[in-house]
């Protein structure tokens, strides 16, 4: 077989391999670390692109690890959702670390930079693995790598808030992993399979014999992945963790990591447990209400925050609610909106965190009330922030608009206009906390540290410009991603 045939595995293994090498590289050739990381991420991006191209032209395909066919071996299933997620991960992960090249030395100790790149690559690899894998236990292994790596890129920063936030995150994450493993045990116990495809075939028959096992497993899965995805009542760890971390970490944690668990949830709910399942209705209803609470309460909390990164973190809680709203509504348009929002929110939230990071980098100011006039002295980051904020509110010609469009349309499709109203109300709430920041940034006189910001390195500005342009481009031409997302949705819903 040619190398291209092994690309699904290589997409995950190559970053892993370079992650192992990174500590050595950091010892011998410090300056190569960043370049290697970039090259590896570029490779994952292009291989995801290649896979996406292949899937779009000739349909989903499977890859057997080591040539062992399921149910004996591990299988990667390269379908629309998987390549979409992989593209999102590598597409956002790349600019974030480009930004990090300049920002990280500012925030971290010299000695741990190499470790940061190691952890970043491991995080990326595990997320890609979660996107591609079709095996329940393999998913668990990647979840664990992801959990530890994402805690580690918080605690790597020398501050007691970071260590404490990372500990809180780790403990809750471990509880989540425990629930996940128990759920896997319960599912395996009654089906004898770990492969998603085989599970989906076995489960309907098993449901009649062991309904309680399945329900308990579902509940544990919801809790396990819900904790990690910060679904509403289980979000307590998120604000501290995402706000205290170094800016690139915040961007990738808020933008990607919580989303990947949502993707895992989507895979499990729609591929393993068929959506028509009798026992699924309450699960979906629960998801709906939890996400509604997440959207409303997350926004409410965001309104009262004073720290810019805390506010963004609370906003993430609300935004993950959109994704789960789409999942819970389960109509074609709503699920499409939810999946689309994974990408859109990854882009805008990463940009917002990086822009906030740029403010902090140049002025050292984190308080929202002190950021007045930042748009006058730092027009590019503030402009990016403004675009991101507009996208959050869902103003047309930004990508956030399309998520809301499809979610609202999907809510109407599902015959639940109430949830369309929820989307609208939350847009208003987003407006209430994002717009004053922009207004203060551009229409106030700069004072104090904001008046004389330090110089922002060109790569950081460049990253913000690229991401900002992305928000607009995907706002004007939503069809760029929509083909992929729409096919993913149709496949998931079996249409």
């Amino acid at each position: 077989m040619s190398a291209a045939a092994h690309l699904p595995a290589l997409t995950v293994v190559v970053p892993l391999f370079f992650a192992y090498l990174m500590p050595l590289l950091a010892r011998w050739r410090k300056s190569w670390c960043a370049a290697t990381t970039l090259a590896v991420l570029a490779f994952t991006f292009f291989s995801s692109l290649y896979l996406a191209n292949r899937v779009m032209s000739s349909g989903p395909f499977v890859y057997h690890m080591g040539g062992w066919a399921p149910p004996w071996g591990i299988e990667f299933y390269v379908d629309y959702l998987a390549v979409f997620t992989a593209l999102t991960i590598s597409g956002i992960g790349l600019p974030v670390i480009v930004y990090g090249i300049k920002d990280l030395p500012h925030e971290l100790k010299e000695g741990v930079l190499g470790w940061y790149y190691t952890l970043y690559l491991l995080l990326m690899a595990s997320m890609l693995g979660m996107a591609l894998t079709n095996d329940l236990f393999n998913l668990f292994v990647f979840v664990e790598i992801c959990a530890i790596a994402s805690c580690a890129i918080i605690s790597i920063k020398e501050s007691r808030e970071c260590v404490e936030a990372a500990f809180k995150y780790l403990v809750l994450s471990a509880v989540g992993s425990g629930c996940l493993l128990l759920a896997i045990a319960l599912i395996y116990m009654v089906t004898g399979h770990l492969n998603f495809t085989f599970l989906a075939a076995t489960l309907p028959g098993v449901m009649a014999v062991y309904p309680k096992n399945i329900l308990a497993a579902l509940a544990l899965l919801m809790v396990g992945l819900g904790v990690k995805a910060a679904l509403f009542p289980l979000h307590v760890w998120l604000p501290d963790a995402h706000s205290s971390a170094p800016s690139p970490s915040s961007a990738v944690l808020s933008g990607l990591v919580i989303k990947i668990y949502a993707v895992a949830m989507i895979k499990l709910l729609y591929k393993v447990f068929p959506a028509t399942f009798a026992g699924m209705a309450p699960v979906m209803a629960m998801l709906l209400w939890m996400s509604t609470l997440a959207i409303i309460i997350g926004s409410m909390f965001a309104i009262v925050q004073e720290d810019i990164k805390k506010m963004l973190a609370y906003s993430s809680i609300a935004q993950i609610g959109y994704v789960f709203l789409g999942v819970g509504l389960a109509s074609h348009n709503a699920l499409l909106g939810g999946i689309l929002h994974i990408f859109n929110h990854a882009m805008m939230k990463a940009m917002l965190f990086l822009a906030a990071g740029a403010f902090i980098y140049a002025t050292g100011v984190r308080k929202l009330s002190q950021l007045k006039g930042i748009g006058v002295t730092m027009p590019v980051p503030a402009g990016a922030f403004a675009i991101g904020a507009m996208a959050m509110v869902g103003i047309p010609v930004t990508n956030g608009f399309w998520s809301k469009w499809y979610l609202a349309l999907g809510a109407l499709d599902a015959g639940k206009p109430l949830f369309a109203a929820v989307v609208l109300v939350s847009s208003l709430l987003n407006g209430i906390y994002y717009l004053p920041i922009i207004v203060n940034a551009f229409f106030s006189k700069p004072e104090g540290a904001v008046a004389k910001p330090g110089r922002l390195p060109a790569v950081m500005t460049g990253t913000l410009v690229v991401l900002g342009a992305g928000c607009i481009i995907f706002g004007i031409f939503p069809s760029l991603v929509l083909g992929l997302v729409s096919r993913a949705t149709r496949l998931l819903l079996g249409l």
């Binding site: 000695g111 292994v141 004898g192 308990a216």
Partner: protein
């Protein structure tokens, strides 16, 4: 207040899990769903396919070797995480 909450939570979980236990396949029953074609092939074909007598070893290092790569990576990531945390001091 918090204690009460914890107790209620734990009671609910216990109740739910114990009811589930009552319904689970009987422990050790050869007719259990887990004893399907998967372990059967592992037991019967391991020697021919991998040349190993210990089936668990065969699974870890061959059939599901990718999981083991992940396992090693978990170990690696934990070391990296612990070292980076302690080094940041």
């Amino acid at each position: 207040m918090r204690k009460l909450l914890v107790i209620v939570l734990l009671a609910v979980i216990t109740f739910a899990m114990v009811t589930t236990v009552l319904e689970m396949p009987t422990f050790g029953d050869p007719a259990n769903p887990t004893n399907n074609e998967v372990p059967e092939r592992y037991v019967q074909e391991t020697i021919r396919e991998t040349g190993v007598l210990n089936v668990i070893a065969a699974i870890i290092t061959d059939y599901r070797a990718f999981d083991t790569l992940g396992e090693a990576t978990v170990l690696f990531v934990a070391i990296a995480a612990a070292l980076s945390t302690l080094k940041a001091h």
